[in-house]
């Protein structure tokens, strides 16, 4: 087969010489490769090295463990009853985290657990040097996961002209004026005067739902209870409030 002559290359010989010149030039220059253990690698921002746990933020809500695609997060917790802080007050319960472990031999570093954590208990750390000789040692318990926490970098700066983060906006909002005793709050009063009475039918369903026997499927779970609250007149606020606190308990019973 005859070599096709492309007008650009200008024949085989200049190309061959060019190849020799390129390699010779690279040989003369200092090499640009550095070897890893001697020179630390330059990691890009938001590198996914290891998952760090901030134990104080964890409420044992199990969202991370449930969302994990390969189920490599193990959580054990128990409930603790806190005595009432005021006489006649209600006792509170809170979750205590007994075990939080991530098996990095299974983890695929998708970061879904970090995304779903509602309380920012999980963070990406760029540290990656935690290889082990035994695969079982890749199961990091919560104290080991907590040790990664100091290596978590601060969040990157926001883009220019981006919206204020929700937390900052909430903190910057002016404090509410103190409410005068006995008088209805101004916002509530204004809302009560709104001509939104035609929306009553939606409200009329509520007693019916309360009377429904347990175990029947509900068409729309707690979603309707939240928007239903604002139109409540201030006089019935205490009654409806008690109804609201009661209603979740049977539903959670249904879930179990």
């Amino acid at each position: 087969m005859s070599e096709p002559r492309t007008p650009r290359s200008g024949g085989a010989l200049p190309g061959l010489l060019k190849g020799l010149a390129t390699t010779a030039r690279t040989l003369a220059r200092p090499t640009h490769t550095t070897e890893y253990p001697d020179a630390p690698p330059h990691l890009p921002p938001r590198s996914r090295g290891v998952i760090a746990l901030l134990e104080e933020n964890c409420t044992s809500c199990m969202l991370c463990a449930r969302e994990c695609p390969d189920w490599c997060i193990y959580i054990d917790s128990h409930k603790e009853t806190l005595p009432a802080t005021t006489p006649g007050g209600r006792e509170r319960q809170r979750n205590v985290l007994d075990r939080f472990a991530i098996d990095f031999s299974l983890c695929m570093y998708c970061g879904i657990c970090i995304e779903v954590c509602p309380f920012d208990a999980l963070h990406w750390s760029p540290e990656f040097e935690y290889s082990e000789l035994d695969i079982r040692d890749l199961l990091h318990e919560k104290d080991r996961l907590g040790q990664w926490m100091p290596t978590v970098p601060p969040p990157p700066a926001l883009d220019e002209h981006s919206a204020e983060p929700a937390e900052v906006a909430a903190a910057n909002k002016p404090a509410r004026p103190a409410r005068a005793a006995g008088a209805p709050p101004p916002a509530r009063a204004a809302r009560a005067e709104r001509p939104e009475r035609p929306e009553r039918p939606a409200r009329a369903e509520r007693p019916a739902r309360a009377e429904r026997p347990e175990g029947t499927a509900r068409p729309e779970p707690p979603a309707d209870s939240v928007p239903a609250e604002p139109p409540t007149p201030p006089s019935t606020a205490s009654e409806s409030g008690s109804a609201e606190t009661k209603s979740p308990e049977p539903t959670s019973g249904e879930d179990q």
Binding site: M1, L16, L20, T23, A24, L27, R29, T31, E35
Partner: protein, 319 residues
């Protein structure tokens, strides 16, 4: 008794050179190729810039299991690495480093070197045939075709030099060399270099071991020490061909202080040629099988014949 001692001493020194020089070339290839590609090459074995990398490789090869395929022709299969290796050892014995530093001063050493290096192909052919593997056989056939094609320009180029020097002895050729040969024998030198790289099956002429096409050619089934012997044969071949080029075309030991440092000049010139052979490997892609034959028969053989004619005419005219 002294004769026996002398022969033993010469043999041992040739063996030592045969074991050391290929490792030097191999290490040079590691480092030169790495730096040509912007890498560092071996850095850890032995402590200083990985100088002991090839020693460590040798230790590793010794430890590996020596496998002979069930369908292989056992005796031929196991004998092939020796056939590939020994010719270069023999050829190294007759290459002079300086007028008196030569293991065996044969009267027709140029012819002897060409004859022995041509035997090495038998080892590859035996390996490919005995492996009972289609890729091995393809590789062996390719190297047979390649070595047949390139033996001719190689011999013609050497014949031209022998004609110019009026001697078949490598020592005599180097003695007769003058700087004028650098121009006069330049086409022959180029033909010799290209044909030598092809004889060694080095890139860009490494079709017999083209890993993208036929795995590793005739050496596909080899493991452990036998495989290492084939690699050693390749690097010993580079040493032999580089020293041969230095003696034939670059005047061997001729240079400043050639009385004391002649051997060093020969080794240095040979090392430069070895680096050039490595350089070609890094810079150029592999030729296709038909391009290889095309180059040999359409370009190199006519060029070598023209060089032979030029040399003959000049020798006759100037005599």
């Amino acid at each position: 008794m002294t004769d026996v001692l002398e022969v033993t001493l010469r043999s041992v020194s040739v063996l030592a050179a045969f074991l050391v020089l290929p490792l030097l070339v191999g290490q040079a290839e590691h480092k030169v190729m790495a730096h040509m590609q912007g890498r560092l090459g071996p850095m850890y074995a032995g402590g200083f810039h990985g100088w002991a990398q090839l020693v460590a490789d040798g230790v590793k090869f010794v430890q590996k299991e020596d496998i002979t395929p069930a369908a292989a022709d056992r005796r031929v299969f196991r004998f092939a690495p020796a056939v590939a290796l020994v010719p270069y050892l023999v050829a190294m014995a007759v290459i002079p480093l300086s007028p008196d530093l030569v293991a065996a001063d044969a009267p027709a050493s140029a012819l002897f070197v060409l004859a022995t290096t041509a035997v090495g192909i038998l080892g590859t052919l035996m390996a490919g045939w005995a492996s009972a593997n289609k890729y091995s056989l393809l590789g062996a056939m390719r190297s047979a075709a390649q070595l047949l094609s390139y033996e001719l320009p190689l011999v013609l180029a050497v014949a031209s030099v022998c004609l110019a020097a009026g001697s078949l002895s490598l020592g005599g050729i180097a003695q007769a060399w003058s700087p004028w040969w650098l121009i006069w024998q330049l086409p022959g030198a180029l033909v010799f270099l290209v044909a030598a790289v092809a004889e060694l099956q080095r890139p860009p002429f490494d079709m017999p071991v083209a890993d993208a096409e036929i795995v590793f050619g005739a050496y596909t089934e080899y493991t452990g020490l036998r495989f290492a012997f084939f690699l050693l044969a390749e690097y010993a071949g580079i040493v032999v061909m580089s020293l041969l080029f230095a003696v034939l075309y670059l005047g061997g030991w001729q240079g400043p202080f050639s009385d004391q440092l002649g051997w060093l000049w020969t080794l240095l010139k040979g090392l430069v040629i070895a680096v050039v052979i490595i350089w070609l490997r890094v810079a150029w892609p592999r030729l296709r099988e038909d391009q290889l034959q095309h180059l040999a028969w359409i370009v190199l053989v006519p060029l070598a014949l023209a060089q032979l004619a030029l040399t003959g005419v000049w020798v006759v005219v100037s005599a």
